[in-house]
C-alpha cells in the first residue's frame, strides 16, 4: 500500500472516531453535552445505585397451585368426582420451586378414569400420578416445561412491573434487566444513574402492591387468639385471618384482627387508575378507580351486602374495613397514608400493577454524586501528571520519532473512546485500569519498535532498511503480547462479572486500537517523513 492510501485510511478513521465522540457540535456547550452523551460514565464514577434483586419464583408456583386447586375443586364437583382433601406443599426457597405439588386425597377407585380424563383435558400443564402405596390418593406435579415457562413468565412480569414503577418515578435512563443464569439465579439487575435516595426507590420496587377488596366475615378482635377462640379454635374453611395495619407507626397496642373471606370481590387487576388525594380533614389517602368489569362485580356485591364490612387489603394487611353504606360502582379510597409521598407512592405501585412474586434484595451499591465527582477529579489530577511524564519522556528520549509515538498514543485513546461510545459500554473504575494497561502497552509497542530500529542502525544498516526491519521484527513481539492479552480478556469477559467484564472490554478495544496506531499509523508517519527527504542518511530517533 502506498503512503498516500495509508494516509487516507488514517484520516478517515480519525475523522470517524472524532465524530463518534463529539458529534457535530455547533457551540462549546453542545460539544460538552455531546461528549457527555457519547462517553458514558459508569455508576461508580457518575454516582447512582446498582441493585440486584432476586425474584422469589416459588411465590408464583404457590399461587399457580392455589389457582389450580380452586378450579380443580369446581371441575371435580361438576364431574361428580368425590374427594376428601386437596392441599399443596409450600416451597419456601427459590431452589425448592420445582417441588411444587398438589395432593388430592380420597378419590374413589371407581372414578380413576374420570379423574385422569379430567386432568388431561382441563389441566394439561399438570401431571397426575398415584401416591405410591395408595389407591385413593393422587399427586399433581407441574410438567418441567410448564415450570420453566412459569418461572420465565414470572421474571418477565416482574421486570415489566418494576420497569413501570421506576418509569413512574421519572428517573433518567434506568436499566432493568435479567442477570445471571435464567434457570437458577432469577436475578434482576436495576441500575439507577444519579439516584441518591435509593431507600425510597427500593421500597417502591419491593412493595408487592397486591390490592384486594374482601368481605369481612367477623371482627375486629384484639388478637389472633381471641378470633380463634370465638370460632372454636379452628379457622373456618375458605377464610383468612388478617391484621389491620396500625394507624400510626409503632403503636402496637391498637392491633386488631379480622376474619375475611379467602376470595376477594375485586383485586388490583380490576384497577383502572389510582391517585393521591386528601379527605375532608386534609389527611392523605389514595383513591382508585375500577375498570368496567370490576365495577360491575363490585356494584353487584355492594348492593346486596349493604351494612356489612368490606376489608381493603394491601399486601395481606388490612388498610381499612369500612361498612358498606350503599351500592358502590367504581371507586374507592385507601385511607391512613402518612404523607403525600406515601399516598402518591402507593398510587404509583397500584397503577404499575402488582408483582407476581416477592422480591429480595441481594446487593446494593450506591455511590453518592459527591464521591463520583471526587473520584473523577482526583483521577484526572492524578492521571495528568503521569501522562505528561510519558509524553515528555518520549519526546526527550526519541526526539522526532517521539512525536510519532505521542500522536499514535493520542489516536489510540481517541479510538478507544469511540469504541466505547459505539458499543454502548460505560467507562468504570475497572475500565480505567484497562485504559492504564492500554497506555502501558501502547508505550511499550512504540518503545519496542524504536529500540529495534536503533539496534539495526547500530548494526550499520541504512535508515530505510533499519526502519523496515525494526518494524517487522517488533511487529512479531507486539502481535504475541497483544494476542495473549486479548485471549485472556476473552476468558475474563466470558466468565467474569461486572467489573471484571468492564476491564476486559476496555482493554480489548484499547489493544485493537493500539495494533492499528503503533504499527500501521506510526509506520505510515515514518514512511511519510522519510519519503520527503531525497537521500535519507539520518533518522531522528
Amino acid at each position: 500500500m502506498s503512503v498516500t492510501t495509508r494516509s487516507i485510511i488514517i484520516v478517515i478513521v480519525l475523522a470517524l472516531t472524532v465524530v463518534l465522540i463529539i458529534g457535530f457540535p455547533t457551540s462549546p456547550q453542545q460539544l460538552v453535552d455531546n461528549i457527555r452523551k457519547n462517553v458514558q460514565l459508569g455508576l461508580d464514577l457518575k454516582g447512582g445505585s446498582h441493585l440486584v434483586l432476586q425474584v422469589q419464583v416459588q411465590d408464583a408456583a404457590r399461587a399457580e397451585a392455589d389457582r389450580t386447586i380452586e378450579s380443580l375443586k369446581e371441575e371435580l364437583r361438576k364431574a361428580n368426582i368425590d374427594w376428601a382433601d386437596i392441599s399443596r406443599n409450600s416451597p419456601e426457597t427459590v431452589a425448592q420451586t420445582d417441588s411444587i405439588q398438589i395432593t388430592l386425597k380420597g378419590v374413589p377407585p371407581a372414578k380413576v378414569g374420570d379423574l385422569r380424563a379430567l386432568v388431561v383435558e382441563r389441566f394439561p400443564s399438570w401431571l397426575l400420578s398415584l401416591v405410591p402405596g395408595s389407591t385413593t390418593d393422587y399427586r399433581l406435579n407441574l410438567k418441567p416445561s410448564e415450570l420453566i415457562a412459569l418461572k420465565r413468565d414470572t421474571i418477565e412480569r416482574s421486570i415489566q412491573t418494576i420497569e413501570n414503577r421506576i418509569n413512574g418515578l421519572g428517573l433518567t435512563e434506568p436499566t432493568i434487566q435479567q442477570r445471571g443464569r435464567a434457570d437458577a439465579d432469577y436475578e434482576i439487575l436495576v441500575q439507577l444513574p444519579g439516584v441518591d435516595d435509593p431507600a425510597r426507590v427500593k421500597e417502591i420496587m419491593r412493595t408487592a402492591a397486591m390490592l384486594e377488596l374482601t368481605p369481612v366475615l367477623d371482627g375486629p378482635f384484639p388478637s389472633q387468639e381471641a378470633l380463634l377462640a370465638k370460632h372454636g379454635g379452628v379457622r373456618p374453611l375458605n377464610t383468612k385471618m388478617l391484621r389491620m395495619a396500625p394507624r400510626s407507626e409503632g403503636s402496637e397496642s391498637g392491633e386488631s384482627w379480622y376474619l375475611v373471606s379467602a376470595s376477594a370481590v375485586v383485586t388490583g387487576r380490576d384497577l383502572r387508575n389510582a391517585r393521591p388525594s386528601r379527605d375532608e380533614m386534609g389527611r392523605w389517602e389514595t383513591g382508585f378507580m375500577l375498570n368496567r368489569d370490576g365495577a360491575r362485580r363490585f356494584g353487584r356485591y355492594t348492593e346486596s351486602h349493604v351494612g356489612e364490612r368490606l376489608a381493603i387489603v394491601l399486601d395481606n394487611q388490612i388498610k381499612s374495613a369500612p361498612v358498606i353504606q350503599n351500592r358502590i360502582e367504581d371507586s374507592g379510597r385507601i385511607t391512613g397514608m402518612r404523607d403525600q409521598q406515601d399516598a402518591s407512592d402507593l398510587a404509583l405501585v397500584l397503577r404499575a400493577g402488582s408483582l407476581p412474586a416477592g422480591i429480595v434484595y441481594r446487593e446494593e451499591r450506591t455511590v453518592g454524586p459527591s464521591l463520583g465527582a471526587d473520584s473523577i477529579r482526583q483521577g484526572v489530577s492524578a492521571g495528568l501528571p503521569g501522562m505528561l511524564a510519558v509524553v515528555v519522556a518520549m519526546l526527550v528520549y526519541y526526539t522526532t520519532a517521539g512525536i510519532n509515538a505521542v500522536l499514535a498514543l493520542i489516536l489510540n485513546a481517541v479510538i478507544l473512546l469511540a469504541c466505547l461510545s459505539v458499543s454502548g459500554a460505560v467507562l468504570t473504575l475497572p475500565g480505567i485500569a484497562g485504559v492504564i494497561l492500554t497506555i502501558g502497552m501502547g508505550v511499550d509497542s512504540n518503545v519496542l519498535i524504536f529500540e529495534r530500529i536503533r539496534e539495526e542502525l547500530r548494526a550499520g544498516k541504512g535508515v530505510l532498511a533499519a526502519v523496515d526491519t525494526g518494524f517487522s521484527k517488533a511487529f512479531l513481539t507486539i502481535i504475541d503480547t497483544h494476542v495473549t492479552t486479548v485471549v485472556s480478556c476473552a476468558f475474563l469477559f466470558m466468565f467474569g462479572t461486572g467489573p471484571v467484564k468492564g476491564f476486559a472490554v476496555t482493554l480489548v478495544f484499547g489493544l485493537i486500537a493500539n495494533l492499528f496506531t503503533a504499527v500501521f499509523v506510526s509506520r505510515t508517519m515514518f514512511d511519510w517523513s522519510l519519503g520527503r527527504q531525497r537521500r535519507v542518511t539520518t533518522l531522528s530517533i
Binding site: V52, D196, D197, P198, K202, V360, Y361, R362, R365, T366, G368, P369, S370, L371, D374, S375, Q378, G379, A382, G383, P385, G386, A389, V390, A393, Y397, Y398, L429, A433, G434, I436, L437, I439, G440, M441, D444, V447, L448, E451, R454, E455, K473, F475, L476, D480, T481, T484, T485, V487, S488, C489, F491, L492, F495, G496, G498, P499, V500, G502, F503
Partner: protein, 408 residues
C-alpha cells in the same frame, strides 16, 4: 538520547539472590495470608454492609461504634479513609441475606439520630443527605408561595445549583447555609426558605455497599475462576506460539507476582475489593506482556545463535531488551505512581496494587520466568546425557517455524 547502548549484565549468573528473595517474599506473603485466614476481603467479597460517611468534624469513632452496636449484632468496624478529612468507613459483616435491608436502615437511622444535629427529627429535611428530587419536592411549594420562583423549572434550577455546589465544591457536606449563597442563582430569599425547610446534618453518606454473603462468595469464586481461565488461555497461546515450557514459565511468573502482591496486601492489612481485582488483572496483563517481550527475543536469538549456550543466550536477550524494559516499565510506573500519590482514597487500593505489580512484574520476567527456561533446559540435557547426544538448543523448534513464516 540513550540510557543503555549495549549492556552486558550477567542476570542469570546472579540469579540466586533474586530467586531466594522471590521465595522469601512469596513465603512471607503466603504466611501472612495463612495466619490471617486468607486475604482481608472487602465487603464485595465477604458479604456485609459498608458506608462511607463524611463528618463535619473529626469523626467520633467510639460514639459511632457504640451507637450502632445497639442495633446491629455483628462487629462494627470504623476506619479512617486514607487521605481524606473527617471521612470514615463504617462496616459490618452480615451473616444472612435477610439482614441486608435491616442493617442498612439501622445504620442510616442511627447516624441520623446520633449525628443529625440539634434540629434533626423536627420535621425539617436534612440538606446534606437529601437527594435532588426530594429537595425539589420539599422546596417547590414554599418557594412558589414566597414568590422567589414562578415555575418548576426555576425551582429545579435553584436546587440544582445548590446540590452541585454541595457535591462538587464541598464533597457532599455543607456546614453553613451561608456558603450556599456563593452558588449562582441562590438569592438571600431562597436561602431563607432553605433554612426554614432544612437543617444541616453533621454528616453525609457518600457511598453504600451492601452485599449478601451468598452473592459475595459467588463474586469471589467467579473472579478467581475467570482469572484462572484467563491464565490457562494465555498458557495455551504461548505454548502454541513458543513451546509449552515457555507458557508454563510465563504463567508461573505471573502467579508469583499475584501471590506477592496479595501477600503484601495482607501484610499491610489492605482490603481486597473488586477494584483491586481489576488492578490485579492489569498486573497480570502487564507482567505477561513483559515476559513475552523477553521470550520473543530469546526465540529470535535461538534461530541466529545456534551454538550459544541457552543461559548465555537468555542473558543476551535480556540485555538486548533491557533499554526497552527500563523505559516502558519506568513510564508505566510513573503513571501509576502518580495515581497512587494523588489518586485519593477511592483509588488507593487499586493504585497500590499497580505500583507493586509493575515493579514485580518487570522483575519476574527476568528473574523468575527466564531462569525456569534454563532450569528446564539443563534438566532435559541431564536426562539426555546417557544417550550421548550433543546439547542442541532444543527449545524454539515450533517457534522457529511460526516466526519464520511471519517474518515473510
Amino acid at each position: 538520547m540513550e540510557i543503555f547502548k549495549q549492556t552486558n549484565f550477567d542476570f542469570l549468573g546472579n540469579k540466586w539472590p533474586f530467586i531466594i528473595g522471590s521465595v522469601v517474599l512469596s513465603v512471607a506473603g503466603l504466611a501472612s495470608l495463612g495466619l490471617k485466614g486468607g486475604p482481608r476481603y472487602g465487603i464485595d467479597f465477604r458479604g456485609g454492609a459498608m458506608m462511607d460517611v463524611k463528618f463535619a468534624g473529626p469523626p467520633p469513632a467510639d460514639k459511632i461504634r457504640s451507637a450502632l452496636s445497639q442495633h446491629i449484632s455483628g462487629e462494627i468496624l470504623v476506619q479512617n479513609v486514607g487521605g481524606a478529612d473527617n471521612e470514615v468507613l463504617i462496616g459490618t459483616q452480615l451473616k444472612s441475606e435477610q439482614e441486608l435491608a435491616a442493617a442498612r436502615a439501622a445504620m442510616t437511622q442511627t447516624l441520623e439520630a446520633a449525628f443529625g444535629g440539634p434540629e434533626a427529627g423536627r420535621g425539617k429535611l436534612d440538606f446534606n443527605n437529601a437527594g435532588r428530587q426530594v429537595l425539589i419536592g420539599r422546596l417547590r411549594d414554599p418557594m412558589i408561595r414566597a414568590g422567589v420562583a414562578s415555575s418548576d423549572a426555576q425551582v429545579s434550577e435553584a436546587v440544582d445549583a445548590m446540590v452541585t455546589f454541595r457535591d462538587r465544591e464541598r464533597s457532599g457536606l455543607v456546614t453553613r447555609f451561608e456558603d450556599l449563597s456563593s452558588s449562582a442563582g441562590v438569592s438571600p430569599k431562597i436561602l431563607e426558605i432553605v433554612k426554614q425547610e432544612c437543617f444541616l446534618g453533621q454528616f453525609a453518606v457518600r457511598r453504600v455497599e451492601i452485599v449478601g454473603p451468598k452473592v459475595g462468595a459467588e463474586l469471589r469464586l467467579q473472579a478467581v475462576l475467570a482469572t484462572l481461565y484467563a491464565l490457562g488461555g494465555m498458557l495455551v497461546y504461548i505454548a502454541v506460539r513458543f513451546e509449552w515450557i515457555y507458557g508454563l514459565a510465563a504463567v508461573i511468573a505471573v502467579f508469583h507476582d499475584t501471590i506477592i502482591t496479595i501477600g503484601l496486601f495482607s501484610l499491610f492489612n489492605k482490603e481486597v475489593s473488586l477494584t483491586v481485582i481489576a488492578a490485579l488483572l492489569t498486573l497480570v496483563g502487564y507482567s505477561m506482556n513483559d515476559t513475552i517481550v523477553v521470550f520473543d527475543r530469546i526465540r529470535e536469538n535461538l534461530k541466529i545463535l545456534r551454538r550459544e549456550k541457552l543461559a548465555a543466550l537468555i542473558n543476551l536477550s535480556i540485555n538486548q531488551t533491557l533499554s526497552r524494559t527500563v523505559l516502558t516499565s519506568g513510564l508505566t510506573f510513573l503513571t501509576v505512581l502518580a495515581l497512587f500519590l494523588f489518586g485519593g482514597a477511592v483509588l488507593h487500593g487499586f493504585s497500590f496494587a499497580l505500583v507493586v505489580g509493575i515493579l514485580i512484574g518487570t522483575y519476574s520476567s527476568i528473574f523468575v520466568a527466564s531462569p525456569i527456561l534454563v532450569f528446564w533446559q539443563s534438566s532435559v540435557e541431564r536426562r539426555k546425557r546417557p544417550a550421548a547426544m550433543p546439547a542442541a538448543p532444543a527449545p524454539g523448534a515450533a517457534g522457529r517455524r511460526s516466526s519464520a513464516k511471519a517474518v515473510k
